[in-house]
């Protein structure tokens, strides 16, 4: 059976509800029933990546929204750098021990961007091995970080998001916060070059403080097949309670798009071009990080 959460969209627009009652209420109940009926009878469309826009819009995003609005009080900056239509590659810094920064970025681009764009993230293949997480990630629009999937999404004019630091970024110790790790082998730049799409640098400030990783139980991680097993001030000390992220203040900023259409697509195979462009993107994001960090100030004192 479907969870109760599906009825949430009913209450999102309380003002309209007041104006239009009682007929508005009828209408809303009827449309909620129709929604439940569609879900129960399977009459909805998904794309080849498994993206289920209806489920994402009405169930998954509403579940994440309180975290975005209330818990982390996320503010978005530089939204004008993200195009309303057409393909682009958003490249961000990765942090926070658990990849919550990815989903917050997704909620922000959907809710606060004028075109309500769906961010299609490229995730580690570990995600697609884990029960439940595997199909929820796909239903939410994300896919595996591989060249084929990235190119395919960009060819379909999608907004694709990638964290080139990968596990090195998300699992780095608290002492290295806001310091970008190595950007892989620049695969994301080659993909953007080949597809001739702009690279949008993105700095996420706030995720570093949600689970400050002060130690790593490497043998346990190896045993469980995880890239790391974090120890934070609350985890595993307080058990499941330790999984509650600390309520840091978040700011997400987008920078000026870095154009790739000035290059020849064939230069995607030229390592020098790819490395130079990778360094340029990395430096841009690092500078943005310092700027936004200064603007935000202390992590837990702002509303």
């Amino acid at each position: 059976m479907r969870p109760e959460a599906q009825v949430i969209p009913l209450n999102t627009d309380a003002a309209e509800h007041l104006v239009r009652e009682p007929r508005g209420l009828d209408h809303k109940v009827a449309s909620a029933l129709q929604f439940v009926r569609r879900r129960l009878t399977g009459e909805y469309e998904i794309d080849e990546f498994g993206f289920d826009p209806e489920l994402n819009e009405n169930v998954l995003l509403p579940l994440l929204r309180p975290l975005y609005e209330r818990w982390f009080r996320v503010e978005m900056f530089g939204m004008e750098h993200v195009p309303d239509t057409g393909p682009a590659l958003v490249v961000g810094n990765h942090s926070g021990t658990l990849p919550i920064d990815g989903v917050m970025l997704q909620v922000g681009l959907h809710d606060d961007h004028p075109a309500h764009r769906n961010l299609r993230l490229l995730g580690a293949d570990l995600v697609y091995q884990v029960p439940v997480l595997a199909h929820l990630a796909r239903k939410s629009g994300h896919t595996l970080a591989c060249q084929a999937d990235a190119s395919r999404l960009l060819a379909q004019d999608q907004l694709v998001g990638v964290f080139p630091e990968g596990f090195k970024g998300v699992g780095k110790p608290f002492s290295e916060r806001y310091r970008l790790q190595r950007f892989g082998r620049g695969g994301f730049v080659a993909t953007a070059l080949r597809a001739q799409v702009p690279i949008i640098p993105c700095a996420i400030v706030g995720a570093e403080e949600i689970y400050p990783k002060i130690a790593d139980l490497k043998p346990l991680a190896r045993l469980l097949g995880f890239p790391y097993f974090p120890v934070t001030p609350t985890w595993p000390l307080f058990g499941l309670l330790g999984l509650v992220p600390l309520p840091s203040k978040w700011m997400i900023a987008f920078g000026e798009p870095i154009r790739t259409d000035r290059y020849d697509p064939a230069q995607a195979d030229d390592h020098m071009t790819v490395f130079n462009l990778t360094d340029q993107v990395r430096e841009t994001i690092q500078n943005m990080l310092f700027d936004v960090l200064r603007q935000r100030g202390p992590a837990f004192l702002r509303a």
Binding site: R39, I46, A148
Partner: protein, 347 residues
Amino acid sequence: MRPSASGSRTSGTTRVVLVTGVSRFLGARVADTLQADPSIERVIGVDTVAPTLPLGRTEFVRIDIRTPSIAKIINAAEVDTVVHLHLVTMAAAGRLKSKEQNVIGTMQLLAACQRSPAMRKVVVRSSAAVYGSSGHDPAVFSETDEPVRPPASGYAKDAVEVEGYVRGLARRRSDLTVSVLRFANFLGPHVDNPLSRYFRMPVVATVLGFDPRLQFVHEDDGVEVLRRMATEDHPGTYNVAGDGVVLLSQALRRAGRPALPLPAPALQTLGDVGRRFGGLKGFSPELLRWLTYGRVLDTERLAGELAWRPKYSSEEAFTDFADSQGLGHGLPAGLLDRLAGAVGGKR
């Protein structure tokens, strides 16, 4: 047959066609379609057991393609086109026997094709299972992609080996037109395969925590592709699947089937028991992997080559299958309709 479907590249040289695996559903349908084509002089069907479906003017020869006698037929009848549909995907007779059928049979057949001067064209039914199925896969497989985790067992591995031998033949006889078709799972009103049996279970067991993306090819579309391949020249390897993608959960909801999520090992045990005692023969580890991770094919190459789109999307193929089985929406949908009707009735 739809006249619009006959392409511009029809070659007048398809005269004598040999169809293997003619006693099974797909072989019988293809043989029946080809014998209805007046431009084809003879259709010869071979299999190890007698056919159960009427084959029209198709000449049936009961023969085991694992023996060299297949070469005699090919030479005597001057066969110019072979449609090899022998791949056994349902291990009815045990794994060892089906492997022999699949691999040794194909070797004998291809050896005969290689020796025959009259031979012009070889069309081979392969399976999308050659791509394997794992959590490391790209979202969509195109024909040039190598499997990330190649299949290690079962008919999927046979299909990989069969394709290897077919490539060898194409190398040695470059004058032949060789077409390899990687079919997604067949579904339709008349299909009886491990998958159709799976969907017919009273309670459909699924893998806990996974919801695979699936594709189906409708039997009519599969037969049409094979007909085009047999009567026209389309060398190369092609993915064949209905357009679009269906999630397993979505399919089960559409068919009104109750799902029972089980941990993968429990499901495998259930499958083993079902294989031995129930009607679930062929509930293989490959099927379980597919039901865990799913698989999606890029079918643009076929669409471009044939200038044709499948008549049934994956979803429509499933619906056609579900309708023919009398599966359909149960109580909840009807109840919700009445509720919605009661609420909306005032307007």
